[in-house]
């Protein structure tokens, strides 16, 4: 039974999750390219199994807009330190997500907005969710990885 965590520091929730939830190893990953740096290799984001357990369980993670707000604050030229960290701890936590919902949440949390915002309108795929087994098994040419058009 997950405790009522709204108002509890997110760090303490993660400690509870670490002790009480089984890590969930997703078979999916996110392959993406930075539209402003097309010469760079494709990047691959792997969900953390402990984080996935929190997402699937529900009641632990804050809504993704909280991270957007903190990112906005950090982008200000006079940023020194966060003054709205309380949003992480006091906002009502997310309910249990499905695996696909968790991956979508993670895309909007950990990938730059320019990658996922209106990604379907670009003339070349810049974001693909795929199974890890679909990635090249050898990394010899890792810096030449691109998303196929």
């Amino acid at each position: 039974m997950t405790p009522e965590f709204q108002g509890t520091h997110l760090w303490d929730r993660l400690g509870w999750a670490k002790q009480n939830l089984e890590p969930y190893r997703s078979e999916f990953c996110i392959v993406w390219e930075d539209p402003d740096n097309l010469d760079e290799p494709a990047k691959v984001t792997h969900p953390d199994p402990n984080w996935m357990a929190c997402a699937l369980n529900g009641g632990i993670l804050p809504p993704v807009w909280v991270y957007w707000e903190l990112k906005k604050d950090e982008a200000k030229p006079d940023f020194v330190k966060h003054t709205r960290g309380h949003l992480l701890h006091n906002t009502e936590p997310m309910k249990a997500m499905t695996e696909s919902e968790a991956i979508e949440y993670l895309i909007m949390k950990d990938l730059p907005e320019k990658v996922w915002r209106e990604y379907e309108k670009s003339n070349k795929p810049r974001l693909v969710i795929c199974k890890k087994e679909q990635l090249p098994q050898q990394r010899t040419w890792r810096n030449a990885w691109k998303i196929a058009a």
Partner: protein, 141 residues
């Protein structure tokens, strides 16, 4: 010697911050909250990458050869927190030494470049590393 048994300790002035007074004349103090590791990860950067175990990490982005970005679940309060990393490749021979340098740090992620330094030439080459142990210390948001 007596034994203190309890499930929780709480600061009086600040709930999440306590100071332990120790040493001769009670002059040495340790702030428990400041000294805690606020995140760690054991990560495999070779083959199909994998997080072996972690705390306070939401995902890892493989940016390219030896270039790994660790994304935090609980942001740090500012971008001047400390990260330390230890990287190596399984079965590496003794003629090379490994390095990991912090590349880009924000309150929400920490990026390292891993690679090796050759004894003979002194050149530095980015390399994927099977063993990446990274710890973070600092103030959380």
């Amino acid at each position: 010697m007596s034994t203190l048994r309890t499930n929780a300790l709480e600061g009086v002035d600040a709930k999440n911050s306590m100071t332990i007074v120790a040493g001769a004349g009670n002059v040495t103090t340790t702030n428990v909250q400041e000294g805690l590791c606020k995140g760690w990860i054991n990560y495999k950067g070779t083959s199909t990458n994998a997080v072996r175990d972690s705390l306070n990490n939401s995902s890892v982005t493989d940016n390219g050869t030896g270039d790994y970005q660790f994304n935090h679940t609980n942001n740090f309060n500012n971008a001047v927190y400390s990260g330390s990393s230890d990287v190596a490749e399984t079965g590496a021979n003794g003629s090379i030494s490994w390095f990991a340098s912090a590349d880009d740090i924000t309150t929400s992620d920490y990026e390292i470049l891993a690679g090796l330094v050759a004894d003979t030439s002194g050149g530095i080459t980015a390399r994927d590393t099977a063993k990446n142990d990274v710890n973070f210390f600092g103030d959380l948001a």
